[in-house]
Every structure is written in structure tokens, then in C-alpha cells.
Homo-oligomer: 309 residues x 2
Amino acid sequence: MTKILIFGHKNPDTDTICSALAYAHLKQELGLNAEAARLGEPNQETQFALDYFKAEAPQYIEKVGDDVESVILVDHNEFPQSVDNIKDVRISEVIDHHRISSFETKEPLLFRAEPVGCTATIIYKMYKENNVAIPKQIAGLLLSAIISDSLLFQSPTCTKIDVDTAHALAEIAEVDADKYGLDMLKAGADLSKYTVAELLTMDAKPFVMNGVNVQIAQVNTVDLGEVYQRQAELEDEITKIVHEKDLGLFLFVATDIVHSDSDVLAIGKDQDKVEKAFNVILKNNRALLKGVVSRKKQIVTNLTDAFKG
Amino acid sequence: MTKILIFGHKNPDTDTICSALAYAHLKQELGLNAEAARLGEPNQETQFALDYFKAEAPQYIEKVGDDVESVILVDHNEFPQSVDNIKDVRISEVIDHHRISSFETKEPLLFRAEPVGCTATIIYKMYKENNVAIPKQIAGLLLSAIISDSLLFQSPTCTKIDVDTAHALAEIAEVDADKYGLDMLKAGADLSKYTVAELLTMDAKPFVMNGVNVQIAQVNTVDLGEVYQRQAELEDEITKIVHEKDLGLFLFVATDIVHSDSDVLAIGKDQDKVEKAFNVILKNNRALLKGVVSRKKQIVTNLTDAFKG
């Protein structure tokens, strides 16, 4: 039977890993030869979720092999965020909740994007539509994804549908969403074990804004001070990346998950776009963005506008 | 209440017009202030369907006005095929069955593309999902769209879902799908009343293939000989368009709906790509493509490959 590979974006987060696993399971239940894959190491938060629900991380792939008939992208659509040889493979489906950009196909496909807070919310819906029961483990993983993307329902990207879905999943997974969620977020927010290089790549996404290469890396923390103890080191490393990747801007976003603010560090010749986008003044290359927690809904949109105008 | 405008592609065909009308009705039933629109004149086939089911054509728009909160694209996603000021408006939804290309948004949206033969088939599904009854008139229009896009179920793009949907719609519309369908297709295939300029624009779509501007115009006929009586005139007019629009290739596709073949006329410096794509030799700028009826599934895909390699 022809093989279908299902994977999320590079620098995988909890939604990318868990949605790939859950959608592969659904496809298998529907009789298809589907396998989940990942394009990078699971982060601490994701590993906590996998361990808690006794799940294996999907197989790591560097590129899609010749034995694969088609691929399904979850939690992303922009080619620069996908597997390196994405342009050489047949994409049969996309299940996502992001803006659409830098994506194209030669043939029609199933493309399902919905403006909800998490891909896992859409996957849950697809289980229901196909009348496939959600196993306890899969429910736990999907719940973890929603908690992660919504910062325990605090992010402006979080919709009522996400909250309702999370509570239905928590029941199947037999956990208390709030208690489990906080434990999981804290596991991910312990940044002390990460090197500076890891902080800058663990959840970094490339964008092209009005022709300019922009990289936005985000970390969650419960202690902004701890993160910026290493500011000098962060700046050195970012400066290297800016040169290597010919970036106009590298924006490092440290999000305080307790207070729901972000303290950002901006490096690059287009630094001023950050000031313009958020109406702030960078001091020592940094600014506190009050109430900003969502890269997708609050950062990418405003920055894209700032680069245009 | 904020206004939502729903429209299909330029040079509207029956699916574009009827899906816009049917989806606007569904949105209205769901309590939204939605209006259907069109970006050009309905063709003879579409007019036959509108007249038969006593429906009004949607309002014509040249661009999206300031009073519109967001737009919904049906039956297309590629910006060059859409309204001129598409980049300045908020796209809240796309319902489509084509490849995805030259499309991007700043924010997440509902994007629903399915690899079926017709947008109307997806709209039918959405009525069902929302438990909204399909009025007889709307059923007739959706049926007309499926018959048009599938050439009465003969096109390779036609899936079992399209056929089943068409039969369910025919029952609501109280018509015999085959008899009504042939009458409608014949109404559209009577090309005698069209000028050469009209033949070249009535169902023409622009594409960008490996950086080259390509225009593909298609007409349905029951008499290929009649169409090519005007070959010299067609060539003169196409040559003009090639220069005006800086095209590498203009491909005129005359599809014989009785024998399910297409006789194509290719003009432009990239003429040879047609020979390569279909393994034919152009004689007098023309070639018969046996069994080729679908621009989307048989022509665009092969041509895109020929331009790449």
C-alpha cells in the first residue's frame, strides 16, 4: 500500500508533533498506510506531553524519501517552514490554522485551514466527522497541543471552539486541563538547560515580509530576568544568524506565560520596523510588548504591516 | 451588519456564478449579510441555467468597495484570476477545488479546497453540514455547475462524489440530469454568436509557469470545424493579446464535448512547450489532444511540467 507521511513544521512545537501523531492514527483507522514524522527534536514541553501520555515521538526525517507516495502537512503551509524537498513531493492534504503564504501546488488537493487556535482542534473535528473514537492517549496529545498553542486558553488566538474541544479531550484523557496544562507549560518554560543557540532555534520560524527575510524565535518563560541574563550572548549569536541567513530582522520573543507579556530583542537593519509595528522605542535593542503573546496573531500581522507601509 | 461579498473568478463560468449565488444564500440563511457578485458577463451556458431556474445573475463589480468588511472567494484562489484589488481586501474564506498558487493572506482564514470536480459539490456538502435545506432553485444552479465543470460527468476531474451530489440535486431541482445537462451544454456550445475576441476571453485564465505568463482559453463546441473556420482571425487576435500581455504562450482549447477531445491552437515563443507537454507536433499551430477535456487536470499540470523541465 502506498505510504503517506504526515508532518508539521521545522523546529516542532507541541501542536506540530501531536497533530501529526493524531492525524496519522486517524488515517490508519480509515485504512491508510500513514506514518507520522518530525523535522526536528521535540522540545521539553512536547517531551513532557509525550512522556505523560506514554507516546513515542514520531520518526525523524531529514527529507521525504522516494518510497513516499504523498505527504500531508499539518500545522503549517509555508514552504520555508517545511521539509527541504517539499517542492519535489506530492502534497495530498494540508490541515492548518495559520495564514497562507509561500505555498503552491500543481494539482488540486484537500486544503483545510480554519481560523482556530490550534491544528489539534481541527483534527478533533475530523475524528468526529469520520466517526472514529479517540483513544485516551491521542486525546491527551491533542489536549496538550491546544494548551500549548493557547497558553492555557490565554492567547488571543484561542477561540471558544478550542476551549470546548480541550474540555471534551480532557475528559477522554482523564486529566484536569488546568492542572495538567500548567505542569506542561512549566516543563517547557524551564529554559535553564538550553544553550543560547537552542533558545534561538527551538521555536524559530522564517518569514518573508515585503521581500525581506525575517526570523521570529519565541520562547516561553516564567522568569524574563533569567532569560535576559544572557542578553549579550543572545545578541552575539543572533548577529551571526543575521549575517548567515541575510536577515533584515531577527526578533527574539520571550513570552512571560504568567503575566501574558513579551519582552522582545530585535537585531538587524530593519529593527525600526519593530518600533513602528508596536509603537514602542527599543532600548538596548529590547522592548516590552504588553499583552502580546501570539506570534501569529499579534506579531506577524503587525510586523507585516510595518514592512509594507 | 457588516457586508460580506462572495464571488468567483474573472471570465465567470457556470460553477463560479452558481456557487457564488448558492453560498451567499447559505450564508444568509445562517444570518449573515452576504451578497453574491460576479466579475464579468455570464456566458450563454450560464445564462441558460439562470433562465431555466428563474434566477438573477449576481451583481457585477469591477472592484471591492469600501463598504465591504470581507470577501469570500469561490471556485478560485489565484490572485491574477480574482478581482483587481484583491490584495487590499480581507479574505475571510476560500471555497475551491483548484490547485493553490499565487495566493496569500496576512491572517488565518477558513480555506476549504477539496479535490472534487466542482465547487458546487463542496457547497452542497456545506448546506448538509449546516442543516440548511436547499431550495429548488439553488439545487438547479448547483446541479448546473456540476454538469458544466464535469462536461456531464465525462471529465477526468469528475469524482463519484460529484456524480452522487448531482443526482441528489437533480431530485430536488426536479429535472432529469442527463437531459437537462445536454440541453445546457449545447446552449453553451453554440459559438456562432460569439466574436473571435469573445471566444478568446469568455473562459480564459492566466497562469504563471516558471516565471512565464501563460493564458489558456477554453471553449466547448459540438463542431470543431466551425470553430476553426475562423482560425486566421483567431491567430491575428491571439497575436495581439500575446504582445499586449507579454505572454510566452496563449493556448486556445476548443473542446469537442461529444467526442471528448480538444483541438488546440498555440501561439507564442513557448509554443514548443505544448508539443513537449502532450507529445504532439503542432501543424499549422494546431494539434488534436485525444481524450483531453480538462484544463485543470490535463492541461495545466502537463504544461507546468513542460515549463519546468
